[in-house]
Point group: C2
Chain length 225, copies 2
DNA sequence: TTGCCCACGATTGTATACAATAATGCCCTC
DNA sequence: GAGGGCATTATTGTATACAATCGTGGGCAA
């Protein structure tokens, strides 16, 4: 069984990511208490952790507010993601194990079939596999501190609904990036892996910016990068 | 007046950085309570923040332990610092203001005179100016998230006493890096600034590793990078 | 009417009491 | 005598009560 603090963290985080808590909204500890079914103490701990993750901002004696991203910040976040995930890919290329490589190949196939199909859960299957793909690379990089940094910039873009904004050519390019990443890993070439990963993230960034309406709203999924 | 939580954070952090708490030491909340003169609640918050900063590690129902760095981790941390501060220098080059540039020039002079002199506070003066020099660049980068990432890898090397390990040629090279950074900023050349900053951090890393005895002990100051 | 000041309410910050969990040492069994 | 299981105890996790602080509204004066 997990701790009450963890439950509170997950519940509040999910609410923010799926849009239940709008950007800029003031989060009152007493309200979160009844939402999560725990007392204020674990709620407070959860809020501090969310503040570290960049999902809420904290001001003394005024509590927590859900972050409201400006368009400039989105560029900034994707630039940081490119830096961090690029570095992770470089490390991963030198450390990845064969079982991990097999998993990557399978996930790449999963994504390609998800794209080719047309079921209702098409997007969900794709995003799930994509998330795992990137998670495996971070795991292969094998650096706790790098993982902590990634957490600072991975969560936030999730507040944007992006999957539906990718055109077919953009998705195809994303697939090619995945395949080329695997090739770079097979060659154990850190520089190649890093370059492709950077391209992958930055391409996603531009696809997002170009297709994003001014006001971002609605239940969110996550970036396809 | 600051909050009790902040006081506890600063007190415990200082104890870790100056070596009062040895690596691997188990930090009991009740003991920290009497050390800091506050109750357990703010102590707990302080410990969580320290865990985020990478200075302590947390395991459920077992509390906090001061981190014990292995030699491999030091390389990893310096690689991350090179990545982050390099990126910060790149951004800073495009955003830095003239007053900030003037400050950098003054601090570079301060460091050079500190090195040239031979007073007892020689090292202290140098390190203080050096810290401010890097802080200004981070501020000029103007990215809260990047600052948060930097915090993950700036604090930890402080647990190592490094200043005394730099040879004269190494210090001279460090000074040249500072001057060249200023030149890159004046030219508003992000790529140049990033390259020099990476060199600066990585050079410091190797100077450290080469001069570090196997067991690192004693009151700590901070890295000269 | 408008601006400022004070008091009130709401909300966060802190302390302490209680519950739950994990480490430790002892005793029993083999 | 050694190993494992159980009870004890120390330590962390949680809840709640209290204190401090900030925003807000009303009232008073210019």
């Amino acid at each position: 069984m997990t701790t009450a603090s963890n439950r509170a963290f997950e519940i509040i985080r999910a609410q923010i990511l799926n849009g239940g808590f709008a950007g800029g909204m003031h989060l009152k500890e007493s309200e979160l208490t009844e939402l999560c079914g725990v007392s204020r103490t674990p709620v407070r701990e959860a809020l501090r952790r969310l503040a570290i993750s960049g999902l809420v901002v904290f001001t003394p004696h005024q509590g927590a507010k859900v972050v409201a991203l400006e368009s400039g910040e989105i560029d900034e976040i994707y630039a940081l993601r490119a830096m961090i995930e690029g570095h992770a890919a470089n490390r991963a290329a030198l450390r990845i194990t064969d079982p991990m490589l097999r998993q990557l190949r399978r996930l790449a196939l999963d994504m390609e079939t998800a794209i080719a199909g047309n079921g209702a859960d098409r997007a969900e299957a794709f995003l799930s596999a994509n998330r795992e793909f990137h998670a495996i690379i971070m795991a292969a990089a094998d650096s706790a501190r790098l993982g902590a940094m990634a957490a600072l910039v991975i969560d936030v873009p999730l507040t944007l609904r992006t999957m539906s904004r990718y055109s077919e050519p953009e998705l195809a390019r994303s697939m090619r990036h995945h395949r080329e990443l695997i090739s770079a890993f097979e060659a154990r070439d850190g520089g190649w892996a890093e370059a492709i990963m950077r391209s992958h993230i930055l391409a996603a960034s531009h696809a997002l910016v170009r297709n994003t309406p001014l006001e971002v709203k609605g239940p969110a999924t996550e970036s396809a990068a």
